[in-house]
Symmetry: C2
Subunit: 430 residues, 2 copies
Amino acid sequence: MGRSIGIGMIGLGVVGGGVVRALQERGEYFARQVGAPLVVRRIAVRDPAKPRSVSVPPELLTTNAEELFEDPGIDVIVEVMGGEEPARTYVLRALEAGKHVVTANKELMAKWGPELLAEAHARGRDIMFEASVGGGIPLIAPLRRDLLANRITSVRAVINGTTNYILTRMAHEGAEYGEALAEAQRLGYAEPDPTNDVEGYDAAYKLAILATLAFRARVAPSDIMTEGITKLSARDFQYASELGYVIKLLAVAEERPGGLLARVAPVLLHQSEPLAKVDGVYNAVQIEGDLTGMVLFQGRGAGAEPTASAVVADLLDLAHSVVYGTRDRKYWGPEGEIPILGPEAVESRFYVRVTVSDRPGVLARLAKCLGDHEVSIAAVNQKEANEDQQTAELVIMTHRARESAMLAALKEIAALPVTTEVSTFLRVEG
Amino acid sequence: MGRSIGIGMIGLGVVGGGVVRALQERGEYFARQVGAPLVVRRIAVRDPAKPRSVSVPPELLTTNAEELFEDPGIDVIVEVMGGEEPARTYVLRALEAGKHVVTANKELMAKWGPELLAEAHARGRDIMFEASVGGGIPLIAPLRRDLLANRITSVRAVINGTTNYILTRMAHEGAEYGEALAEAQRLGYAEPDPTNDVEGYDAAYKLAILATLAFRARVAPSDIMTEGITKLSARDFQYASELGYVIKLLAVAEERPGGLLARVAPVLLHQSEPLAKVDGVYNAVQIEGDLTGMVLFQGRGAGAEPTASAVVADLLDLAHSVVYGTRDRKYWGPEGEIPILGPEAVESRFYVRVTVSDRPGVLARLAKCLGDHEVSIAAVNQKEANEDQQTAELVIMTHRARESAMLAALKEIAALPVTTEVSTFLRVEG
């Protein structure tokens, strides 16, 4: 062991602390795996005086990230600060300075992954980001390596723990959205401002990263149709359950004739589907390869320790290849283009809950609107009426239909004098 | 692309055919990933005249494996013949001749993995075996790489598709073992001689491989207590279900005080456990790491295409490192010893079904036997009597107890004049 592997860290929050702790506690074991000791040489932080969960020698801390890039004793930069900027600038600087990069930053990789992968490749360096999606669940490496022989046809994922916790509470306890969110916030599963999670943006970042690797084509967050979970009602969970379904915030990227469909939205999933059984703060990703068939990866998708586990795995992999002299780096970014399909291209079955006047002939009028647009009804259920308001609820499951036709029919239904409200409209998957 | 990567294959059966087909159909894509074309230069088979599912130029075939080892144009040997010998001799010869090896052979790796890993490392070569466990489910690479930062505390797996298919039929359709086996044989999920699967040997091979990697200590098939599924009755599935459990053939390797417990046996698993939900021919492996927490990998555990997917992934990985000049190889075999615990060390809850004379006082006598050995009863259920034979069934769930105490109590129970038979005895996991 003539040399050591120098590490520079940017950020020392929850994940960074977990990484430092793992390196401190298992240094000897890691050194055996890699063939050289891993040494944290410098850590860039905003506030060196801030109390930390791990103890590090104060002289390692700096507020100037440039010191890391200029240090010839640093081989790998670990970026765990999060956010788009200045993280992107730092990562580019690190690559320019000849460092490898490990990042846990999903926003960065979702928005800039292809550019960063190309830049890394051009400089004979690597950027690794297992921790950016799904915490400690191996996902990036399996896509990059283990499934490489496959043509991948779909990626379907329950990939946001906050919303899955909320939806699981709504399903199992009949909680309304607001209650379940408040509970999640109380337990620390949801942020004080939960927008990023509950509107589906976080899931869309993760899907963009997975889909870009799976299809070897750029899928940007802005390519992904994204809907959140804020409009769901406890009743929908009850009705879905009666029909044999659960409601999940599903991130899907799949090949369809003409291109790629990429979407994050709450959907009805049949109870027998593996993803329907993923409850609480667990995440799961189901990948369909033409050789492997369906492969499912499940685990805790967030948290300091699972995420640190992923960062360290990347770090050990990179460090090993530095020690053992891998000459060049494989390019693993996009190889081509894939057309991204719009919602008009989607065919699906649909679940609709409509609040209507409780009088004869109403169902016939709704059915006509659907029939006029060639949407045929698979099942219909009239739910108990609200006597005070003289309204009733109709729950309709359709056969497969084009989403554009369904939306046109719903517009007409909403305009009917007998319709109080189109309360919920969800796709049915699987 | 100055050079190509030469491949020699040993065996051209179902899996070998799948590998050749993938290389033929995706050669160009693979060449881009690896940085050089992959060329099958020679295939050793027993009978060159045998009809094959893939078409290969007849001049590639040979009955003499030695020709492969002596060919300087061959970089990697793909061993897909199966069985212990002559596979072991061939793999050793390949390493000796400076070739890397990819194998799908679980018996070989379970029995000889540590020796072969050491031999490969000593020669600066690698032996890869993703396809030896779990078909197309990534398991070996995640253990070798993605979970490396973790201390792994348990590996629990439903890892034999044949038995899982049989048990699923028994659970869902009330089929008896013999019927379910016959059905599995008819569908090609079970061999004409099903011993290797139904007695748990196949699962024990796979567990030996996984545990050796997870605990970095040799776990041999002979270290694993192995029981099969042939004595289960449809009634046990029904009673288990009433108690909220399913019955699965579970392969477990877990750290316990004093050493490692390694076992393959049918057990009761609570319905809420992820592994309880893995039905039919699916396999799943649940790994508990101290950082990641529980991570689950699920997919089709067998079949030509999933297995070929795993072989090709290893092949691409090796080929890439040959092209890009990785100087040395990481040793990833056992690092130390771990004491293997015997059954006397096991503590568990237990499920027992006893057929007894249908008369007063019987339960009290059974309960006394258990109590005398400090096994306490958690639940007891008297099932409908068989009036002709004047017998009844008692289904007992115990609290946590030592298996040695439980076995001693059962011996006494079996000897009671009121006992017709101790019909089933299973551990309860989770």
